[in-house]
């Protein structure tokens, strides 16, 4: 997703948040794996979209009758290896990362796309402060 007005681009992926908002699946199709990854049973899933609505940052997508969420590639995330910009990290930088509990409240009335946007904007505005400092 691109935030043209502030020059920020970003991909939203699951944070493996400690609150586990998505773990509210009425069909029990979602479980948490040993690495902390979200596991969706595509056989139990009925595509009701509850998990997608629950995630405060819009990290779950449903496309073509399939639930897409990061499963950490079994512990060796390929996206981290592939990204040459160093934009994805395994460890969350807690000091610079907004709390998902706060985001949950702030994004209550939003759809997943708006949540992604809101979340990226928050992260992006922090990033921009660093740019400005660098170029002051």
């Amino acid at each position: 997703m691109n935030l043209y007005e502030i020059g920020i681009d970003g991909a939203v992926v699951c944070n493996q948040c400690k609150e586990r908002y998505c773990d509210c699946c009425p069909e029990n199709a979602i479980t948490i794996g040993s690495l902390g990854e979200v596991v969706v049973s595509q056989t139990l899933c009925t595509l009701c979209g509850v998990c997608r609505k629950a995630c405060p940052i819009g990290a779950i997508e449903i496309f073509n009758d399939f639930v897409y969420v990061c499963d950490l590639c079994g512990g060796r995330p390929r996206c981290i290896e592939a990204c040459k910009e160093g934009a994805i990290t395994y460890e969350v930088d807690e000091a610079h990362h907004p709390s998902l509990a706060a985001l949950k409240k702030e994004t209550k009335k939003m759809n997943p796309s708006q949540k992604q946007y809101f979340y990226l904007k928050k992260l992006g505005l922090e990033e921009r402060k660093r740019w400005r400092r660098k170029h002051a």
Partner: protein
């Protein structure tokens, strides 16, 4: 039925009636053109009344993508906009990257054909199921990003991709552009004005279909080969760091960097305005089009400004070409032009031409509403650009472009306009790059490099030149020998790249695509056999179609030439003798 790669459908929108119609795309119709730019030209050839007013309701505005647009093929997000050009009166089109093309693919439409004229300003939202017509009086005068944000917010969907016009397009500046993904420009031939004349502020796309390829495993392995070729390319690092702005120094080193409106080919202060300087002092991060491994674009911060870009053409147009050594000013102009939707080459040309004419006392300030301007006068340049955008004061005349403006002046002044067939010349002096010179002369949209981009002649690959074009001279930029063969070949690869679609930086300049690997990609992607020989033939036919169409618009053989100024024998200051050899024929 087109099942793989293609969306297999065409969307027709009539703005006058506010109606749309969905048609199947017939396989036999698309097979001789592949898609993208070639398909757009074919459509124009078949359906446009050549005598129509380019700014009237009968002009046809086409957004087209190709069979592999938005696929896993790297840098495949390109789309082409085609119409009769209001600037040149002939074939007009322009390709851009970003994310728009990839999203358009998911709507399942290979072409969106727009005719008529809306009775008030509106934007269109195209999804897989059709079109929504949305009135937007509040968008009048808004910049590209403001418009894009307004639409995304309104739709509550930030994956919507928007191609919009700025104030310049609304005001029918003849060289206004369409801009998508905030900063990706369909520039040059005035497609923005065509959109403005239809009262169409923006075209937004959002699709929910998927793109299927015929043979995923083979397709993937072909894609991997292309990825490897890009990542191991000898110019990769340079292009990653500077994008096209690397050309500032490269062209200066060989004496072809337009300086003071092509009067000089070497710019003494190039280090102050180079891609290296930009990367070192102002660049913040890389930017990329959809699925691109090169990420050649950049984001910069300078004083209070920040934006994406600039590309080489904009950088050169607002530094050396106008005799300015002020890089921050060029960066400010880049942001302004992209947000207002003005083409940077034509804007630079009309201002540069006036400055040269005033320097030579061919145009008096009284004939320019009191405008008196000289090299590097940034405050005045800024003011003039604003007047062009809003067609204010003398800006109203400048907004018709240098060629049309020059018609009310004497012959000496007219001769100084750097254009072919009404399209302003890009930043690269043809006197020192013969294949480019030939390309500018014959290119079907006017003075333009992108129709062939024979970058090969700058890469010094003698053996390869002999193998491909029969003579080592094809790799010697000052030679004429072998250049016809080089340009003919490059024209086809350029068209192929625009038709798949893919980015020409990669497909063509980096010499990544050829008939063989494209044939394999197309077969695996679409399931249709496009043999290398067949492709070469149909690409040649499509190029002929460009020319036939232009004949209908009234071009003649004699128009395929270079401006007199770039053929004159007294030559650029500061260059060596070797460069003085100029073809008599051009």
């Amino acid at each position: 039925m087109l099942k793989y790669g293609y969306g297999g459908r065409v969307l027709r929108i009539d703005l006058t009636e506010r109606r749309f119609r969905i048609e199947p795309l017939d396989p036999s119709w698309v097979r001789p053109v592949i898609g993208g730019r070639a398909a757009n030209t074919k459509r124009l050839f078949e359906e446009l009344n050549p005598d129509c007013d380019p700014l009237g309701p009968d002009n046809i505005l086409i957004f087209g993508i190709g069979p592999l647009t938005g696929s896993l093929l790297p840098a495949s997000a390109y789309y082409t906009v085609t119409a009769k050009s209001p600037l040149t009166g002939i074939l007009g089109d322009s390709a851009a990257g970003g994310q728009f093309g990839a999203e358009m693919k998911l709507t399942g439409f290979d072409q969106i054909i727009i005719t008529g004229k809306a009775d008030s300003l509106l934007y269109l939202v195209v999804t897989e199921s059709g079109v929504e017509f949305v009135d937007c009086p509040e968008c009048k005068g808004k910049t590209i990003i403001e418009t894009t944000e307004a639409i995304r917010k309104e739709k509550k969907d930030y994956s919507v991709q928007v191609a919009a016009i700025g104030p310049a397009g609304e005001n029918l500046v003849l060289f206004s552009s369409i801009v998508s993904s905030g900063n990706r420009v369909n520039g040059r031939a005035g497609m923005g004005a065509v959109m403005g004349s239809k009262n169409l502020k923006a075209l937004a796309v959002r699709g929910a279909l998927s793109l299927e390829v015929a043979d995923p495993l083979v397709f993937l392995s072909e894609v991997e080969k292309i990825e490897k070729a890009i990542l191991s390319h000898n110019e990769y690092q340079k292009r990653y760091k500077m994008g096209t702005t690397m050309l500032m120094k490269d062209l200066n080193n060989i004496g072809i960097l337009p300086t003071k409106h092509f009067q000089e080919g070497v710019c003494k202060y190039v280090d102050e305005i180079s891609g290296q300087k930009l990367a070192k002092s102002y660049k913040i991060k890389n930017k990329a089009c959809f699925n691109c491994h090169l990420s050649c674009s950049r984001y910069y911060v300078v004083d209070d400004h920040e934006a994406e870009g600039p590309e080489f053409e904009t950088l050169c147009s607002f530094t050396s070409r106008l005799g300015s050594r002020n890089l921050p000013f060029a960066l400010e102009m880049n942001a302004y032009l992209n947000q207002m939707g003005l083409d940077s080459i034509s804007t630079g040309e009309v201002i540069g031409w006036i400055i040269e004419c005033q320097e030579k006392e061919l145009i008096h300030p009284d004939d320019m509403d009191g405008l008196s301007i000289t090299w590097g006068e940034t405050d005045k340049i800024r003011e003039v650009v604003e007047m062009i955008t809003w067609r204010r004061g003398i800006g109203n005349k400048l907004a018709d472009g240098a060629k049309i403006l020059s018609e009310s002046f004497g012959e000496e002044a007219r001769k100084l306009v750097m254009h072919v067939k009404g399209l302003d010349m890009i930043c690269g002096d043809p006197r020192g790059i013969k294949a480019y010179g030939l390309t500018y002369a014959i290119a079907s949209r006017g003075s333009d490099h992108l129709r062939a981009e024979p970058y090969f002649e700058l890469t010094n690959r003698k053996e390869e030149a002999k193998r491909r074009f029969g003579t080592e001279k094809a790799a010697d930029r000052l030679a004429e020998e072998g250049k016809a063969a080089l340009v003919t070949y490059s024209e086809k690869i350029a068209l192929l790249t625009d038709s798949l679609t893919m980015c020409k930086n990669i497909g063509l300049c980096m010499d990544i695509l050829n008939f063989e690997n494209t044939s394999a990609l197309l077969k695996a992607g679409t399931g249709i056999d496009y043999s290398p020989g067949y492709m070469e033939k149909i690409l040649g036919d499509s190029i002929d179609c460009d020319f036939k169409l232009n004949r209908r618009f009234g071009t003649k053989r004699e128009d395929d030439t270079l401006p007199e100024d770039s053929r004159r024998s007294h030559y650029l200051k500061g260059q060596q003798k070797a460069l003085l050899l100029i073809s008599k024929e051009w």
